[in-house]
């Protein structure tokens, strides 16, 4: 492993790779800091660039955006009380009060240190877990893959929180979308209504661009001119002193492991991990009463957790081709553009790419620290870019991105159509992520379901005879069951309170 890793470091320190990795990290930090934009949007905007790149260059740039956006979200959470990304929601609970006390620099510095700790722990876990999981995944039967896809969908629906039914509906709709076009089994046309353009179906990346990026453009047009007011802040004195560092290191490490664990579960993400890490940090603290008033642990733990999810989310994506969260689902689409097929075979056939990612993820943590803090200095000015300038330019970049997928306006039309669908989904509180996961997991589930039944000669008990498949199926049922039970229980509790 070590020689591979050293070769990975040599790869990422190639001038072009290092330059694009730094560029990706900076773009990630800025995009993450701008409220309403997220890491997935950052990857979507830079999609056309990846064609012209070497595989490892493109991958480390995408990883840079992923990690950078996780930290970037905390900057606006601390300065504006508006999390740049959902993963930074818990950071504002203590970050903003600290900024109000004139310690914005300290809050951002603590977030950066927490992010680096989280990122490094997640890198270590990624390097240790991913190759082992890939070895196990090499032995996966098609029945196991089908059950895994089912598990991914159930988790994503469950993570929709109180909207579990809507999460499931969005996931089912995504699965349906994935079936339009030429079917992958015998090549016949499905739901195309004689339209030859529909033979290629709805391209995954065009759907992603629509649901994650264009829907935001259509949503924000209703808000009119939106100029963020940033109060003059004293963004200096970043680094925690030794006493403060000792106070934050343990909650950050615990938060990082929580983040890694949550990140590995397909379909989850930073937004869930941060609140668990925040609660655990509060319980661990000797001064729980300080939480919510500017406790440094309350910043470090969730930041370590959201960066912890980055390496964790890459584990299922790289080893099984199943995205760990929404950003990795966009990344998965981007990988197909450059001819990289994630899965256990990638570890066997292209270890150079895998270890370039591992080494890149480690280097990115330090780049994030340097450029994150530099950005914090200019953030009050950058965050004032008005939406009436930003959003039309994002629309243009989305159109270029969709067009460049196949040099066809059909892809742009699909992106716009799904932008409209995404707009209505937001309006009626349907989460977009399960739809996208359905679109990605649909073909995997269908192919493996068919293959498993062909191999077993239509014996459905194959899914219950294989221990791995059975485990995933039971987990799927338990996850959905628990979420429905919790929702019903919560509803009764609220009704009881009102009575």
């Amino acid at each position: 492993m070590l020689p591979h890793l050293l070769a990975g470091f040599a790869n990422v320190f190639q001038p072009f790779n290092f330059l694009y990795m730094t560029f990706g990290t900076v773009v990630g930090v800025v995009i993450g800091a701008l409220p309403g934009l997220s890491g997935s949007m950052g990857i979507i905007l830079l999609l056309p660039m990846v064609y012209a790149m070497e595989k490892s260059t493109a991958l480390v740039m995408l990883c840079g955006i992923f990690c950078g956006s996780m930290f970037g979200g905390s900057v606006s959470a601390i300065l504006l009380r508006t999390p740049g990304t959902p993963s930074a929601t818990a950071t504002l609970l203590d970050g903003y009060p600290l900024a109000q006390q004139g310690k914005a620099g300290k809050a951002i510095g603590t977030a950066a240190v927490g992010s680096v700790i989280g990122g490094l722990v997640s890198c270590a876990c990624l390097i240790l877990i991913a190759p082992q999981l890939a070895k196990v995944a090499l032995k996966f039967h098609s029945a196991d893959y089908f059950a895994l896809a089912l598990f991914g969908l159930s988790i994503m629906a469950s993570s929709a929180g109180k909207n579990v039914l809507k999460g499931l509906m969005a996931g089912a709709f995504g699965l349906f979308i994935s079936t339009v076009g030429t079917d992958p089994l015998v090549g016949s046309a499905r739901f195309t209504f004689g339209n030859p353009k529909l033979m290629i179906g709805f391209p995954q990346l065009a759907v992603l661009i629509g649901v994650f990026a264009l829907s935001e453009v259509f949503t924000q047009v209703q808000g009119g001119v939106h100029r963020v007011e940033v109060k003059e802040q004293n963004v200096t004195d970043f680094f925690p002193n030794s006493k403060e560092f000792r106070r934050i290191v343990l909650p950050a490490v615990v938060g990082a492991f929580i983040g890694v664990f949550i990140g590995i579960i397909p379909g989850t993400g930073g937004a869930i991990a941060v609140f668990i890490a925040y609660n655990v940090a509060q319980r661990m603290s000797r001064h729980p009463e300080e939480f919510g008033k500017g406790a440094l642990e309350g910043i470090a733990a969730p930041e370590a957790a959201n960066n912890g999810t980055t390496g964790g989310a890459l584990v299922p994506m790289l080893t099984l081709g199943i995205p760990g969260d929404t950003v990795t689902s966009v990344m998965l689409g981007a990988l197909t553009l450059i001819g990289v097929t994630p899965g256990p075979q990638l570890f066997v056939n292209s270890p150079d790419i895998i270890y370039a990612i591992f080494a890149g993820m480690i280097v990115i943590q330090f780049l994030m620290l340097v450029f994150g803090l530099l950005f914090a200095k200019v953030a009050p000015r950058v965050l004032q870019v008005p939406t009436d300038i930003l959003m039309p330019i994002i629309l243009m970049l989305c159109i270029v991105g969709a067009y460049s997928l196949a040099n066809q306006t059909y892809h742009v039309a699909v992106a716009i159509a799904f932008g409209v669908i995404g707009f209505f989904m937001k309006k009626y509180h349907f989460p977009g992520a399960p739809l996208v996961l359905g679109v990605i997991l649909g073909p995997i589930a269908e192919k493996n379901l068919d293959r498993a039944l062909q191999l077993s000669r239509n014996d459905w008990t194959i899914f219950f005879r294989r221990p791995i498949a059975l485990t995933f199926i039971i987990l799927s049922i338990v996850m959905v069951g628990i979420t429905f039970y919790n929702n019903a229980h919560e509803g009764k509790r609220k009704a009881g309170k009102k009575a």
Partner: protein, 152 residues
């Protein structure tokens, strides 16, 4: 129990209807002896959609729903419709006018829709950003962007 919006009922029923349509259409696809065949997977999904739609509909009916009311802000609805119409128009125009002519118009109009009234600034940003993106993608990343029949 708090009443639900009428839209919840409409979505539930629409989901059931979509599921039924998919079942019917999937039934007409080729059948195979081994495996699920092209219609198998869509049928499973359609059944799931019908079940989920039914749960949504029953939950809304049980909780009761508010009377249908068209309370949407007209200005906001118009802004959204204009933004979508602009994007659709762009898709239709770009093969004719090309990226360099159609994109600044789209960006400028979107800035207007977003409420910016600094016409000169918007025009300058629209043109400069389009040219910058054109140069970056065609010269640096070597990605073909539509030239348009007008400029050929």
């Amino acid at each position: 129990m708090k009443k639900k919006p009428f839209s919840e009922l409409v979505i539930g029923v629409a989901f059931i209807l979509l599921g039924i349509c998919v079942v019917i259409l999937a039934g007409s696809l080729n059948k195979v002896k081994l495996g699920i065949g092209p219609g198998g997977f869509p049928t499973f999904i359609a059944i799931l959609m019908i079940l989920l739609g039914a749960v949504q509909t029953i939950a809304t009916l049980r909780a009761g729903f508010e009377a249908p009311a068209f309370t949407a802000d007209r200005r906001q609805t118009l802004l959204f419709l204009c933004a979508v119409a602009l994007a659709v128009l762009y898709v239709l125009l770009v093969p004719v006018a090309g990226f360099l002519l159609a994109t600044p118009v789209l960006v400028f109009c979107m800035m207007m829709l977003y409420g910016n009234r600094k016409y000169l600034l918007c025009a300058a940003i629209s043109i400069l950003s389009t040219v910058a993106v054109w140069l970056l993608f065609t010269r640096v990343f070597l990605i073909f962007l539509p030239a348009g029949r007008l400029l050929r």
